[in-house]
């Protein structure tokens, strides 16, 4: 059974169609890049997958189930903007995540935080933007979920922080789980991806294994993206 499946999935905001008849399957053990320009529908798809939005038409299934209480147990979501309460410390956050999610692995989180050198007592508001984003990613990746939805995890951080974030994703790789990374920063993520999905104006333009694309076209995914989306 695929971890994520979309069948004729559409979402409209008023008269604007944000997603237009998407068909998609993501199998377990895959790291998938959801790649598209701004406003292409990436965030809408991710919000549908974690139940923050409901489809206008069609279906979206997580482990065969419509988004709901059961699927939220299995889905770990990194929103585009950090949403950590800024008065909490990293230690508070671990308690917070542990209370909400039975699959939260506190030891893994502690381990990652100590390697990052974050003071567990420091409040979020005292940390830099980059550190806050890393702490949030650690909370998300420390869950033993089946599906990780990472919405623009590397936007707005410096290249060293990008490497840290991508390494965190690689080191938490689990063949039972899938990771979907939405981004438009393709050259940074392409080495990490099994599969790429190009999305534009609410439609899927291309879905293929990354190495297959590179082999067939003799170009990087970044170059292919620039050609497909040339303005």
């Amino acid at each position: 059974m695929p971890v994520l499946e979309c069948k004729g999935l559409s979402k409209s905001y008023g008269s604007k169609r944000a997603l237009d008849g998407i068909d998609l399957r993501v199998e377990s053990g895959r790291i998938v890049g959801l790649l598209g320009p701004n406003g292409s529908g990436k965030t809408t798809l991710i919000k549908l997958a974690n139940g923050l939005l409901t489809p206008t038409q069609g279906r979206i299934l997580i482990n065969g189930l419509e988004p709901g209480v059961e699927t939220k147990r299995a889905v770990s979501y990194l929103p585009e903007r950090t949403c950590l309460p800024d008065w909490m410390s990293a230690r508070d956050l671990m308690g917070f995540y542990g209370d909400f999610y039975a699959d939260f692995d506190k030891r893994a989180a502690e381990d990652m935080l100590s390697r990052l050198g974050v003071d567990l007592r420091a409040r979020m508001k005292s940390l830099s933007k980059g550190s806050r984003e890393k702490v949030q990613l650690i909370m998300v990746m420390a869950r033993r979920a089946r599906l990780y939805l990472l919405d623009e995890p590397i936007g707005g951080v410096d290249p060293a922080a990008r490497d840290y974030i991508l390494n965190t994703i690689i080191s938490n790789y689990n063949p039972e789980a899938s990771v979907i990374i939405s981004t438009h920063l393709i050259s940074d993520v392409e080495k990490v991806l099994d599969d790429v999905i190009f999305i534009n104006q609410g439609k899927i333009i291309l879905a293929a294994p990354a190495d297959e694309l590179r082999e067939q076209q003799g170009k990087s995914v970044d170059e292919i993206f620039r050609e497909v989306f040339r303005c």
Binding site: I170, V192, A210, G218, E223
Partner: protein, 127 residues
């Protein structure tokens, strides 16, 4: 090992080529233990499935072999290493000759250039 990836071409094939070079040049010694897939994936910053695929290909070509519990090792077969070295060397020669032809050089001109370069290098090392 240093990992650097170029634009075109599958990542797994670039990993295979890099490891082959390391074995052929002796940077990876015969019988040396190779780190696990996860560790290598982190080191190279690539997807673990891609690294796994590259390791499987290197095993298929006989440059690496795995022992069920102990891990993965560099081949101890001198013939395999020599063949890899020769394959790579031939590739470099072809690349070199292609570049010379593109410059419009004839065979004897290429030979002269190589001879001149050799003499210069000998002079440089005081031999």
């Amino acid at each position: 090992m240093e990992w650097r990836f170029e634009g075109g071409g599958p990542i797994y094939a670039q990993i295979v080529a890099a490891v082959k070079l390391a074995v052929a040049s002796g940077e990876l010694r015969p019988g040396e233990r190779v780190p696990g897939v996860r560790e290598l994936a982190l080191e190279a910053g690539v997807n673990p499935n891609t690294m796994q695929r590259a390791m499987a290909e290197l095993e298929r070509e006989g440059l690496l072999y795995s022992q069920r519990t102990a891990g993965r090792f560099v081949t101890e077969d001198a013939g395999t290493v020599a063949a890899a070295r020769r394959e790579l060397a031939e590739g470099y020669v072809r690349t070199f000759l292609d570049a010379m032809r593109r410059l419009g050089l004839k065979k004897d001109e290429i030979h002269k250039l190589l001879e001149a370069e050799k003499e210069e290098q000998n002079a440089g090392t005081g031999m």
